[in-house]
Symmetry: C2
Subunit: 468 residues, 2 copies
């Protein structure tokens, strides 16, 4: 067979030992925090029926699904010719449905909804689950955008209590405190946005209003007002919104001002029950946050527009304060996740951690612990077979104590074994000759300080206290 120069598909990645250790550090931290809040892990298959996936991500999403060719004689007996448009041009979209029944998971949300509906009789609600698995999108690959990447989702469904929103804020708070990254947790509420549209007198313009508010930092108050007018709002409607654009003070002050507007106090005089409900939720959430105590910054941000057609209550977004990158976490409350699969009225709230961006933040800020580079604490160099036989039980005893050590497998020059330890970042080296063997000692050297110590080979505690 011809020899190939090996490569991997565009937009996919190999993760070598160092990068894996760093990624595992992030995932392990997140997972351990999820667990302290009683969330439990599930996994769904990478392969889903296309009927589960199609139509869930919009037209654009359907195009970005990776489809699996049916096994066996996929192209015979499906009437390919009926899909021919002219010449060698075919209706690929329609034809692909005949030759492909399965696709790759596009996100973790739709499979989770499917899981909940399919296993509803085995699940006790409220159901607190997390899921850390790769997803695939046939997107154009570019810097920071991959065709295969991990998502890391935590959701609770079957409870409308704001305690769930609080927990997600606490989880974010704790994860980034453990990772030593300062973040800003921004919170919005879809019902409040609906309320503003209602008191403006344009209940169908929620998205237009939010998109305009979102530009405030970039283009300033006057331009935002122009934009709203351009999007079909009246001067009066804009004057209803204006007080919100310069909202300041504490969270309670902000909520109080919004409450008065929502309660008929705006220039329109319209009352929005939905808006008031949203403010109740926000107020309760901030009260719970105060009661529980959170270390990172948390604030209301009315311009948060993520998943606006999807979320029905709280909306979350998290930014790193000391590193310029987009949102590193996001989520919110949805009231009808499982409806599409036949289980209506199940409310849930969740948040997704962006592993790749969090990786970039930790890398950029130099926040990865130094000792991730090697799991191995100690390398036994091997100068001859006697030394090999001599150290094997010592290595075994250390490993049974959970300490990672290696026995260099080949009898070779010490220089080579030194280099191996160096390249692998192994901090301690043990070299033993006939003197050590006859004395029943192991000789261990700290490669960074040069300190050296001879320890009886059976004194596992002594060895541990020197190398740990």
């Amino acid at each position: 067979m011809a020899i190939q120069k090996p490569s991997i598909p565009k937009g996919t990645r190999d993760f070598g030992p160092q990068e894996m250790a760093e990624r595992n550090y992030i995932f392990d931290t997140i997972r351990s925090v999820f667990r302290t809040f009683g969330y439990r892990q599930i996994e769904t298959p990478a392969l889903e029926n296309l009927s589960t996936l199609l139509g869930k991500y919009g037209d654009e999403g359907d195009k970005l699904l990776f489809r699996i060719l049916n096994s066996g004689d996929a192209f015979s007996g499906v009437g390919i010719n009926e899909y021919r448009i002219e010449g060698d041009t075919y209706n690929s979209r329609a034809l692909s449905l005949k030759v492909s029944e399965k696709g790759l998971r596009y996100d973790l949300t739709v499979p989770f909804a499917r899981f909940v509906v399919q296993h509803q009789n085995d699940i006790s609600f409220p159901f607190k689950r997390f899921q850390i698995q790769p997803v695939w999108r046939a997107d154009r690959p570019q810097k920071g955008r991959y065709r295969e990447f991990y998502q890391c989702d935590v959701d609770v469904i079957g409870s409308r209590s704001q305690v769930n929103e609080l927990e997600l804020v606490q989880i974010v708070d704790r994860v980034f405190s453990l990772l030593d990254v300062r973040v800003l947790i921004k919170i919005n509420n879809r019902k409040v946005l609906t309320g503003f549209a209602e008191i403006c007198g344009f209940p169908d313009k929620v998205v237009d209003i939010t998109v305009a508010i979102d530009k405030l930092d970039k283009i300033g108050l006057e331009k935002v007002k122009e934009e709203m007018l351009g999007r079909g709002l009246t001067e009066e409607a804009v004057s209803v919104i204006e007080p919100i654009l310069s909202l300041s003070g504490t969270t309670s002050e902000k909520i109080a001002l919004m409450r008065s507007l929502m309660n008929g106090g705006s220039v329109s005089g319209i009352v929005s029950e939905t808006g008031l409900k949203g403010l109740d939720e926000l107020e309760e959430l901030f009260a719970l946050i105060d009661a529980a105590g959170v270390s990172q910054s948390v604030e209301i941000d009315l311009s948060l527009a993520r998943g606006l057609n999807y979320y029905t209550g709280a909306i979350f977004e998290v930014k790193a304060l000391d590193y310029p990158i987009g949102s590193i976490c996001g989520g919110g409350r949805y009231d009808n996740l499982t409806g599409i699969f036949g289980l209506p009225d199940v409310s849930g709230v969740g948040i997704s951690f962006g592993a790749d961006r969090i990786y970039d933040v930790l890398k950029g800020l130099g926040k990865f612990p130094e000792d991730l580079s090697s799991a191995t604490r100690l390398l036994f160099a091997v100068m001859d077979r006697d030394a090999l036989i001599y150290v094997l039980p010592v290595a075994k005893a250390l490993r049974e104590r959970g300490v990672s050590c290696e026995v260099y497998p080949d009898v070779s020059k010490l220089k080579k074994q030194f280099e191996y330890a160096d390249r692998k970042g192994i901090p301690f080296l043990s070299i033993n000759g006939s003197d050590e063997i006859s004395a029943g000692m192991v000789n261990i050297k700290n490669l960074s300080t040069g300190a050296q110590k001879a320890i009886p080979k059976d004194d596992v505690e002594g060895i541990l206290s020197f190398i740990l």
Copy 2:
């Protein structure tokens, strides 16, 4: 949109919280042992170029690859009509190569070989890696055979020393000791099998001889001899093999007998240098095993025939002694893994843990730890908002000590909260009313013993010592 009854593709599985906890128990155990031996984790993408995968698993394997349909207008401009055989029948195999460039990982071995060649300049040899990822095969689904399943491979490449074989035996030994499963580790050597074929005078009949030996337990000595004759061996050749079929005694005695046969002592008088080399390897490996000390049973098994066209030295297989299931681990040494990708003469040795079968063994023997069922130790029941606000900081303090606890999110009947704890297997419940709040205590009940204790709410140590 119409409501669908959700399902997943045949041969794939959802893993709920309980099953995930059990699977993670296996993976975490294996991973922790790999790490104590200095093996480091890598990951490769699920998507590989089909050029990397095709031709590596034989004709049958090529058929079992899941192929990804190219994105976009996949069917236009590829000359579909050229692949038409007649009517609506097409040469699907050839056509699929035009509309599909990528496939799903079929095992972890070929992607590992690709990884080593692609990143050879970044790798320091000997390279000790492990990899735990799903693989996909378009096999006919049946009991115990899945289309998506995890493999768990550990390999070291770039060293020919038997210390590597020893380490794999030690890893298997340690993993199953930690999992509390008694196993038999069977070892064979491809060079010894070659040697037998050589001293028989039929160097090209290695597979025939091994397959016949493999049936010894089932069909008995006489039938095995018949089978060998039926496979083209002469009476004299069979009489060379015969002493091996009744091989008994200690490992050293077995090796000594085989050595005398290999060294011209058989009825053919032929000497096999390859066979002697194989016996040297076996002898050295068992000497190292003795020196290091291994708890589980290890024995030579000449009938081990796995991967015979692939392995070049040691061959391993592991069986559970107390549970009837096939091999739960297997592997061996290969001398040319990376040759196909242009890097010749890299010798390696590896072993693969069969996660699904190990799962079945632990389940069948009742060896999963009981406390896997819930991560959560303590549920704070919530009778009213005051109690909620009161317990939030207590829950926070426990979580920061790494203890998993939950605050029931909704104010609801105690019965419902009890049931939640019961279904989730949460062992402790805390119920606090105005008495506890005014006294600054939390009241915690052990749900299995009924024991109850009031502890000052700030006495985290006191709470921990009661619930852990």
